[in-house]
C-alpha cells in the first residue's frame, strides 16, 4: 500500500526559500500570491495492506526521521 506524507514548516519558522519563490512568482506576474511555504512530499510503498496499520507505520517514520518536529509538521494525506 502506498502512503503519502507531506512535511511542512511550522508557522513561525522562517522559510527563506519560500520567500524567494514568492518574489520570483511576483516578478513573473503572479501578483495575487499572499505567501509561499515550501515543504516536502513522500510516497512510501509499505508492505502492509491494512490502511490504518500502513498509516501508523508512516506516521512513526515521520516522527522518527522524515520530519523534525521542532520546526516541521507532518500530515499523512492519502492511501492507495
Amino acid at each position: 500500500m502506498i502512503v503519502s506524507a507531506i512535511i511542512t514548516l511550522k508557522k513561525d519558522v522562517l522559510d527563506p526559500q519560500g520567500k524567494v519563490i514568492h518574489q520570483t512568482l511576483d516578478g513573473m506576474g503572479f501578483k495575487n500570491v499572499n505567501e509561499v511555504r515550501q515543504g516536502k512530499y513522500f510516497e512510501i510503498d509499505v508492505n502492509e495492506n491494512d490502511p490504518t496499520k500502513a498509516k501508523g507505520i508512516v506516521e512513526d517514520m515521520c516522527k522518527k526521521l522524515l520530519a523534525n518536529l521542532v520546526i516541521e509538521n507532518y500530515k499523512i494525506i492519502e492511501t492507495q
Partner: protein
C-alpha cells in the same frame, strides 16, 4: 588523552580534526560510521562536512547511523562529545542538543572568518581559557540556529549558550550575525555541558602561517582540562 573522530560518508573535516587533535597531544583514532563500538575515548568528535550529501535535513541520516548508538550512550554517561559544523547538525538531530540548524537567512553558503565570544566557562571545553573573543572560520549553508521559545528559555536558564557571533570587540549585535541565528548563537551545550555543538571550525585555526592560532589555544586548553 584519547580521542575518536567519526567519519561519515561525506565528512570532509575529519582529517583536519585528526591533525589538530594529534598536534596538541591527543592519541586520536578515526572511527567509521558503520562500526558499532567506540574505542575507549576521553573525547569523541563529530566532524564537519556533508554527511549523506545533506539529504532530507543536514545531519539527519548520520544521526541514525550505527556508531551513533554508542556515541549517544557515551554522551549520556557523561562522556565528552563535540560536534563541529555538520557535527553540530548531527547532534541536534540526535536530540542530544536542543533546537535545529536552518538554512542561512540570506540563502548563501558562508565561508569566512568570524569572531565568537565565549559565554560560559563552567565546562570542560572553555574552563581556564584566558581569552574571551576568538577568531574562527565558518563554512556552512545551514547554520541558522533555531529553537522554540520554551527551548530558548530553558537553554538560557541552564547557561547552555556556549558561544555567540560578535565583532572583534565582543559586541553581539545583530549586524555581526552571519546567518540569522537566534540571539547570535554559534554554539550550545547540553544541560550537563559535556556535549558541545558549534558551527565554527577551531581545527582550521591551528597554524600561524596558514591561519590564526585561536584554534591552538582552544585545543591546548581542552587537553589540559581533560588531564
Amino acid at each position: 588523552m584519547k580521542s575518536s573522530v567519526i567519519t561519515f560518508p561525506g565528512s570532509n573535516c575529519d582529517r583536519d580534526m585528526d591533525v589538530a587533535l594529534s598536534k596538541f597531544g591527543f592519541k586520536n583514532k578515526m572511527v567509521w560510521h558503520n562500526d558499532k563500538e567506540l574505542p575507549k575515548s576521553d573525547l569523541v568528535v563529530l566532524p564537519g562536512g556533508f554527511s549523506y550529501g545533506d539529504y532530507l535535513r543536514c545531519g539527519s541520516m548520520a544521526s541514525k547511523s550505527k556508531i551513533m548508538h554508542s556515541v549517544i550512550n557515551f554522551a549520556k554517561s557523561g562522556g565528552l562529545v563535540m560536534g563541529i559544523c555538520n557535527g553540530f547538525q548531527i547532534l541536534v538531530e540526535t536530540g542530544l542538543l536542543p533546537g535545529v540548524l536552518l538554512r542561512n537567512k540570506y540563502l548563501e553558503f558562508i565561508c569566512k572568518n568570524v569572531y565568537v565570544k565565549v559565554d560560559n566557562r563552567q565546562n570542560p571545553y572553555f574552563k581556564n581559557l584566558d581569552k574571551e573573543i576568538f577568531e574562527f572560520h565558518i563554512a556552512h549553508n545551514e547554520g541558522n540556529y533555531f529553537c522554540t521559545k520554551d527551548q530558548l528559555d530553558e537553554i538560557k536558564d541552564n547557561n547552555q549558550i556556549a558561544i555567540y557571533y560578535c565583532d572583534k570587540n565582543g559586541q553581539t549585535e545583530e549586524q555581526y550575525n552571519p546567518n540569522g541565528s537566534m540571539k547570535n548563537i554559534a554554539g550550545i551545550f547540553n544541560k550537563e555541558k559535556n556535549v558541545l555543538g558549534m558551527m565554527p571550525h577551531p581545527e582550521r585555526m591551528i597554524d600561524q602561517s596558514l591561519s590564526g592560532e585561536d584554534g591552538s589555544l582552544f585545543f591546548k586548553n581542552l587537553i589540559n582540562n581533560l588531564k
